[in-house]
Symmetry: C2
Subunit: 354 residues, 2 copies
């Protein structure tokens, strides 16, 4: 169905009519000039926002709309967890061009609802409009935390341990894989020449080859915000001194923590957690796996520092690894390689404006 | 300067380094995973968001970037006032294509800062990224209000008076004027033929003719959110039973209030406030001025209902006019024309998806 058949209000009604409110703090969701929220007494409010543009942040030739919606929400929730907070509400703004149908937007929204439900977050408003070309998605997440629980980027101290959750580089290798298969597909379309628009069997029978690398795809297409880590830290009574999520790459994020905390760091190459598939894919593509893990980005894992005294406690938490330690600022920021040599860390993370 | 010279973080630093925090409730602005806000005790939080796309919501051939930034913020603050709240913080997300320079984005941001300062609002975060084509602006505003003060759209009651602030249709006529002058300009460019890219005096000497209609332009390019009305109502101890701001046109907004409040209405054509320039421009363009006032939109005036008993009090407030009254739902929603005839109100407001 064409979106113009429903119009703005019709589309909004269709997308939002089955929304359920999960949080008692959500007093008014979609349908007025503003959403009305009642913050839990004693908490502070966390706000984060992201703007995703087609052709820059996602490529619809290989990203299903439902996954895109899921990921768009997840990356915002990840920012709330990265402050050690609890996400409560999101607003969703969409600008869609004429190429999208009502069903397309419903799929996108379904992914958003799925991610929201999983994290008990309410969709409380937004904006739905048109665009001249492509799709734009802007999500704002609102969360809350007790003042004593909030973790900033600027609290890392000398001798603190540097920790990461999960493993790194998988999402980036998933993207490489998707781009490789797309290139293979496009070259077959090219070869089929005039058959391009006909029922060319060469093209229609194309099956991208992802076998053995399903985990990489999942990390790229369907990242999960690490609420489980936040919960595990709270249970273990560990209060990180600094924390952020890894969206631009470990190296870039470490630089942020070090510069905001006015400290230096040492990170050990052999401690950086990697999945087997990440390593295998890097080898297959002739890439340095450490570079991928340092600079790939889109991991949405948590990077945090803890006091040295929490060493035993952190080792008991599954899926968290100590990768190095914080030093005085004048000692610089270095990666210690497997052979003992030191490399200065540089932020080569993904930069949409360079 | 090209944006790529600065990169994402360089551009953000340049735009945000001189931001001053005005609200004690803004604990952490730009620079972490989230902004951290401390809601005033006992208040509820208001959240609203807008996504503006180049070519759909604005045309940079006649909208200066500074005005665009100002307006983009103002329309969000208007939504907070429309709940009878106080805006406190905004986040600003921008997606910019290669055609924009650093100076362009600074101008846009200057307009945003100006609007924010005027309303004592802090810019606390956002996202800055690139787009394949054009400019996208997504702003989220956070405000607060005491629970007893918040005004929804659904509280209008039979016999309530319907009021509007300021005057209507001016912004729409301003847009007509801008489009007329652009058409004149383009036709001169066309006529000048090959001289298009040379120093053709025909084109370069083009001066759009806005004389006598400066007010209309100002309403279109630099709308003001009506904090003054909210303050005047509070001072007069008038608590509206329903309220919203007029962005899509009086007719469309009245329908929202009536359907959410489950009531009908009567609005008198001769009571709709018009500026002299709006009427003159409508006549010059051979348009019905009432239609412009009902359906033009982008007025950012406040539409609200009050108990009949507040009639005397409301008449003492400058720049507010009673335009009709609320009826039982089954009596429908009608405009009573100057000649006494009744027309059913229809929402013909601006709809970006139709």
């Amino acid at each position: 169905m064409e979106i113009s058949e429903l119009g703005e209000f019709g589309l909004i009604r269709r997308l939002t009519e089955d929304l359920k409110i999960e949080n008692p703090g959500t007093l008014k969701g979609v349908g007025d000039d503003c959403a009305v929220l009642s913050p839990t007494e004693g908490t502070q409010t966390l706000v984060t926002t992201d703007l995703l543009m087609e052709g820059v942040h996602f490529d619809l030739t290989y990203v299903p709309l439902k996954h895109l919606g899921y990921k768009a929400v997840m990356v915002n929730l990840s920012d709330i967890y990265a402050m050690n907070g609890t996400p409560r509400q999101i607003t969703v703004s969409l600008a869609v061009s004429k190429k999208f149908t009502v069903e397309d937007i419903e799929q996108l929204y379904d992914g958003m609802k799925l991610a929201s439900e999983k994290h008990h977050v309410d969709i409380v408003g937004g904006d739905t409009t048109s665009s001249m070309t492509g799709l734009a998605i802007s999500i704002t997440a609102v969360g809350e935390a007790l003042p004593k629980d909030i973790v900033y980027r600027n609290g890392a101290k000398e001798t603190d341990l540097i920790c990461v959750s999960g493993n790194l580089g998988a999402s980036y290798m998933g993207l490489q894989l998707l781009e490789r298969e797309r290139a293979v597909y496009l070259s077959q379309v090219d070869k089929s020449g005039e058959k391009k628009t006909s029922n060319s069997s060469t093209v229609n029978d194309f099956q991208p080859d992802f076998s053995g690398y399903e985990y990489l795809l999942e990390r790229q297409l369907k990242p999960e915000a690490r609420r489980d880590i936040i919960e595990a830290l709270a249970k273990a009574n560990i209060h990180p001194t600094s924390m952020m999520d890894i969206s631009d790459g470990l190296s870039s994020e470490l630089m942020h923590i070090c510069s905001q905390s006015k400290v230096g760091c040492r990170v050990y190459e052999d401690r950086i957690p990697l999945d087997y598939q990440t390593a295998a894919m890097a080898e297959e593509m002739n890439m340095n796996v450490t570079t991928c893990a340092l600079n790939g980005g889109e991991d949405y894992e948590l990077l945090f520092t803890i006091p040295l005294s929490d060493n035993d406690a952190i080792n008991k938490i599954e899926d968290v690894k100590v990768i190095g330690y914080i030093t005085k600022e004048n000692l610089g920021k270095y990666l210690i390689c497997r052979d003992g040599s030191e490399f200065e860390l540089k932020a080569q993370g993904w930069n949409p404006l360079q």
